[in-house]
Amino acid sequence: MYPVVEVQGLVNRFGTQVVHDGLDMQIFRDEVFGIVGGSGTGKSVLLRTILGLHRPQAGVVRINGQDITRMDEAQLRHVKSGYGVSFQSGALYSGLTVRENVQLPMLEYLSLRSKALDDLALLKIRLVGLAASAAAKYPAELSGGMVKRAALARALALDPPLLFLDEPTSGLDPVSAAAFDDLVLYLQKELKLTIVMITHDLDSIFRTCNRVGVIVDRHMISDSLEGIVNNPNPWIQEYFHGERARARLGAAHGA
């Protein structure tokens, strides 16, 4: 089984500051892979590199076996239509309604009649648990949780088999965050998605992730959830067994 996303020997430097130094990562089909790391360890840079928004100094990034660091714009465009991204703050286009936001990638990549366009956009909006009335709203009129869901609907616009979520539950109350996790799990199961998510939310990790990659010392340590919790690395120990984590871990193991 070859990986859907594969990163090898990634080096990212900004001036003298080395963010990644030979980082390796593999993400396989149908898994939910969580990327964890302290602030400033380069989680977002890693995501931007995988998405082709940032060219690394060295290393290989393969999506479905194709190295995107060596691609020209046209090839990259084709790869980009094969995955969906939801950004941390939603990044909904503020001048467009939710429906138009979802339709934008469709208009760009597909040739559809307007009826089909409306139907499909509404389908995606309903699929992420938003009411049909939300379709006509502008991003400024949405609550935080709705923005996250709308961003997810836009990420799903082209039915991508691969989904990137950047801190999908940050800024949500625990109930909404749990509901969002359930939604992610539901979509993963029903649509057979491969999901990569950056998250800080321990609840989210324990609820959704099959495997976790932790960025420590400019490298990535990745393992199954069980394996990573028992990893001897001090930062990982602190992260999963610190004050804040202990209660949750106990709850997760007890269940």
């Binding site: 503020s94 089909a116 995606k124 699929l127 049909a132 502008y138 991003p139 400024a140 039915d159």
Partner: protein
């Protein structure tokens, strides 16, 4: 062929194959639309489909709805319909329960009500809109003035550093373009008037025209228009993106008055910068005139200076320069006011920046016209 139709004794057989993704949606729909529907039972074999995406499932869902409407019995080869269809039904049912009522409501609000009534409604809505934006503008001016008056006695509340920054941004950095434009304007006046006046043998009046034109009107007016384009837009864009970013809310929450922190320094900074820029524009304009007269009319510099001295009244310079602070306040007002009106979107920001610049230029020219009338009545 993604959907192949076979006719057998039992009815229609539909064999689906290949990729049923979002990219193929157009073809899928066309092919499914071409399937002849009747009362004959339809048997669908979807086992050959490699990936049935949601979009593909939606196309199939629509087809099934049409088949049902036509009265055809549908069955699936291998027993159960594809998983994705169930997911689709689930998603649609869940949301339909929650949101059925809300759409028709909005539809009713915009429903056509007859031509005359519609026109009246539009006129009324516009009047109310303009009325309320006029009131908002007045409120803004009022709030700005009271804040300024309240903070005037306390130097630190005027934020000198911030003012200095705005003097630099709106004044010093604008020097090259203001100087260049002032020079070019003097070239235009000199050339135009020289060609006309030379025929009358009245070349010397080119100097009068230049001096009075630049000092009284053009120096200050063109500087104000350039500054309206540069700084009016900068104010609106800066404040607008701060509003979008909730920075203004953060200020208010900290107990700071955005009028005091953001708007007063801009007003005062520009009020200092614009008169200074005008002085520079006047100087460059007159110098440009001197050079032009020297080479165009063969007039020695000494004669030019004497003539300039003779043509201006003591008030000429002041009549021009006194307008500068007024223009500065108008420009700063238009930029800040429209910047603070931004609420939600990037598009709104762009629109309001445009409105700010257009309104700043309009206000400057309107004020200039009023000044012209005023000075004529005052006989200066």
């Amino acid at each position: 062929m993604a959907a192949e139709v076979r006719r057998s004794a039992q009815g229609l057989e539909l064999i689906l194959s290949g990729e049923w993704g979002a990219r193929e949606f157009g073809t899928l729909e066309a092919e499914l639309a071409a399937v002849p529907l009747g009362a004959d039972p339809i048997r669908i074999d979807a086992r050959g489909v490699s990936t049935l995406s949601l979009s593909g499932a939606w196309a199939l869902h629509q087809f099934l709805a049409r088949a049902q409407a036509a009265g055809a019995a549908v069955s699936f080869a291998g027993g159960a319909p594809p998983e994705q269809l169930r997911l689709l039904d689930e998603a649609l049912r869940e949301a339909a329960a929650g949101a059925a009522g809300s759409l028709p409501e909005t539809a009713a609000a915009v429903a056509p009500q007859g031509a005359i009534l519609g026109l009246l409604t539009d006129v009324g809505r516009e009047v109310v809109h303009y009325g309320s934006s006029f009131r908002d503008g007045l409120a803004f001016v009022g709030q700005g003035t009271t804040t300024l008056l309240a903070s005037l006695p306390h130097l630190h509340r005027l934020r000198p550093t911030s003012i200095a920054r705005h003097v630099y941004d709106t004044g010093i950095t604008a020097l090259p373009i203001v100087a260049l434009i002032a020079f070019l304007i003097s070239v235009i006046i000199a050339y135009m008037s020289a060609t006309q006046l030379r025929g009358l043998g009245a070349d010397i009046y080119v100097v009068d025209l230049l001096t009075i034109g630049v000092l009284r009107e053009l120096g200050v007016l063109l500087t104000a228009i350039i500054v309206a384009g540069r700084s009016g837009s900068a104010f609106a864009a800066e404040l607008g993106s701060m509003k979008l970013n909730e920075e203004v809310d953060a200020l208010v929450a900290t107990g700071l008055n955005p009028f005091e922190v953001l708007i007063a320094p801009r007003m005062l900074g520009l009020t200092i910068a614009l008169p200074l820029l005008t002085v520079v524009a006047d100087l460059v304009g007159l110098t440009g005139g001197a050079i032009l007269c020297r080479y165009l009319l063969d007039m020695p510099f000494t004669q030019y200076i004497t003539r300039v001295d003779g043509s201006i009244a003591p008030t000429t310079f002041w009549v021009g320069i006194i307008k500068a602070p007024v223009f500065a306040v108008l420009i700063a007002y238009a930029g800040c006011y429209h910047g603070m009106r931004v609420r939600s979107s990037a598009r709104e920001l762009g629109h309001l920046v445009t409105v700010a610049v257009v309104q700043a230029i309009f206000l400057v020219i309107l004020a200039d016209a009023l000044f012209a009338v005023l000075f004529m009545k005052m006989d200066i």
